[in-house]
Amino acid sequence: MTAALQIEGLKKTYDNGFVALQGIDLTVEPGDFFALLGPNGAGKSTTIGIISSLVSKSAGKVSVHGVDIDQNFPLAKTHLGLVPQEFNFNVFEKVEDILTNQAGYYGIPRNDALRRTEHFLERLGLTEKRDTRARMLSGGMKRRLMIARALIHSPKLLILDEPTAGVDIEMRRSMYDFLREINAAGTTIILTTHYLEEAEALCRNMAIINHGKIVTNRSIKDLLRDLHKEVFLLDCAGQLDSGLNVPGFDLEVLDDHTVQVAIEKGQDLAEVFAALHQKNIAVVSMRNEANRLEQMFVNLLEQTA
């Protein structure tokens, strides 16, 4: 199956010499709901800018639904809907005109464009504001206007760059519902966010990006499981066998006297002690070790704050 988005070795050095992306690999499968998580300045918007042609890449390959942007960017663009981080509509235009025009830019005939405008005004709760100039909308409405605009040509892949910035909790919830719904209807969604909770609430897979590099890329389930593991270091008397294991537990012998064990939710450390006891291994002392992944999140969050 062709990936909805395939990125290989993507690099970006801005004109001022700043290296924003140091070689990114990313694959998003069709139908996925994918989060790109990272602190300020990680390179999220740069990556999205490249996919949508607003930023030129320095190296690497990008394809959208199997269409290489170097081969046929216009075709790749028809598959893509973009909700940028910053408002980028003409604030003097009316809400409905912004939508109808955008449809026209994708070659959708006017009658159809008007019909789609109607539909998305309704779906995003903007029908009452159709005649309002965009500058008179509230921040959350502007955000919804950009979502409607991104969907007007029925893209297969929707990319949202921090869609919930400046959106209140209630609105956020209804936005989540809406995104889940269009994802269920078949649209692949990628969103960027600073918040693990947001990724957790919405997405199936995620990548964490920092300093222009992908730090980790896997399913949210796996990640959360790892994140919630408690890690202990057990100092043991006597020589440890490097092949030591306890069925059902994540055990790692670090040196002759130390074994590391990661406990998931629902597992009991006492079972490990019992198993070791049976093998005639005496535990002398025990330390709680910081979870590496958790540590990373703390670091990321500190950087974001």
Binding site: Y14, S53, L54, S56, L80, E86, F87, G104, Y105, G107
Partner: protein
């Protein structure tokens, strides 16, 4: 995009452009109507009556074609430079850049907007001029051709200006310091015959001379320069400006990072 989709995209941009200047008509259509009426009154009636004939026509008849051209030049330029720079300034140009529209369609859409405003204002100031004088039309075909080429040319120049502009001041610099002087020195108000040989020769380097002369020839049948040559020069400028604009748009200069 197939041909039809490109046509739809073109019409969308053009419609948006037309609605923009109609919406703010008091800034886009009215000023030229007022300025030109003042010119008609002052140069045509008050002063013109003392000047006598120029090129075999009353001064009013002589000056009206030049003023109409001036309105077309100013308005087509102003429309594209203001609109495209505005789109760049508020980033709404990104709506076009992320869409699959080919660059030449974007360019044609903006130019069509500029051309339509140039022509609309021309019609208005022509209508006003009829209160002051009668207007002969020597060659309707030539009139149409010159109006079309001129408004296309100055729409393109406005586009180039918008691409390079960083501030709202930058979109006034060229009109104020280049366009206006060249128009005034381009034979709108006088026949080049009046100039000493040296300055008449220098004037040949001013593209506005060809525009004004060719248009006046279309109306009155008299001209300061060879018409075929003038049309050739305008056409050359249009081609050069179009290629350069398209190059700017394709490479995304100052539009993409």
């Amino acid at each position: 995009m197939n041909r039809y989709e490109q046509y739809v995209a073109f019409m969308t941009i053009m419609r948006k452009e037309i609605r923009r200047y109609l919406r703010i008509w008091s800034q886009t259509l009215l000023p030229s109507a007022i300025t030109m009426s003042l010119y008609y009154v002052i140069f045509g009636n008050l002063i013109g009556s003392r000047i006598g004939t120029m090129g075999g026509f009353s001064y009013m008849e002589f000056v009206v074609p030049g003023l109409i051209m001036m309105a077309i030049v100013t308005n087509s330029y102003a429309n594209v430079v203001a609109s495209f720079f505005g789109a760049k300034f508020n980033n709404s140009v990104e709506e076009l850049l992320v869409s699959p529209i080919p660059p030449y369609i974007i360019l044609c859409g903006y130019v069509a907007g500029g051309v339509s405003r140039g022509i609309l204002v021309a019609v208005i100031v022509t209508a006003v001029s009829l209160f002051f004088t009668r207007l002969p039309i020597y060659s309707p075909l030539l009139v149409i051709l010159v109006v079309a080429l001129t408004s296309i040319l100055f729409s393109l120049l406005g586009f180039i200006n918008a691409v390079f502009a960083n501030t709202f001041d930058d979109i006034n610099i060229v009109p104020t310091f280049v366009l206006t002087p060249l128009t005034y020195l381009g034979g709108v108000f006088y026949s080049l015959d009046l100039l000493p040989d040296f300055w008449a020769a220098v004037s040949q380097a001013n593209p506005l001379v060809y525009v004004v002369s060719a248009f006046r020839f279309g109306m009155l049948g008299v001209s300061d320069v060879n018409i075929a040559f003038a049309i050739g020069m305008i056409l050359l400028c249009v081609l050069a400006a179009f290629s350069y604009s398209l190059h700017l748009l394709r490479t995304g200069k100052r539009l993409r990072t």
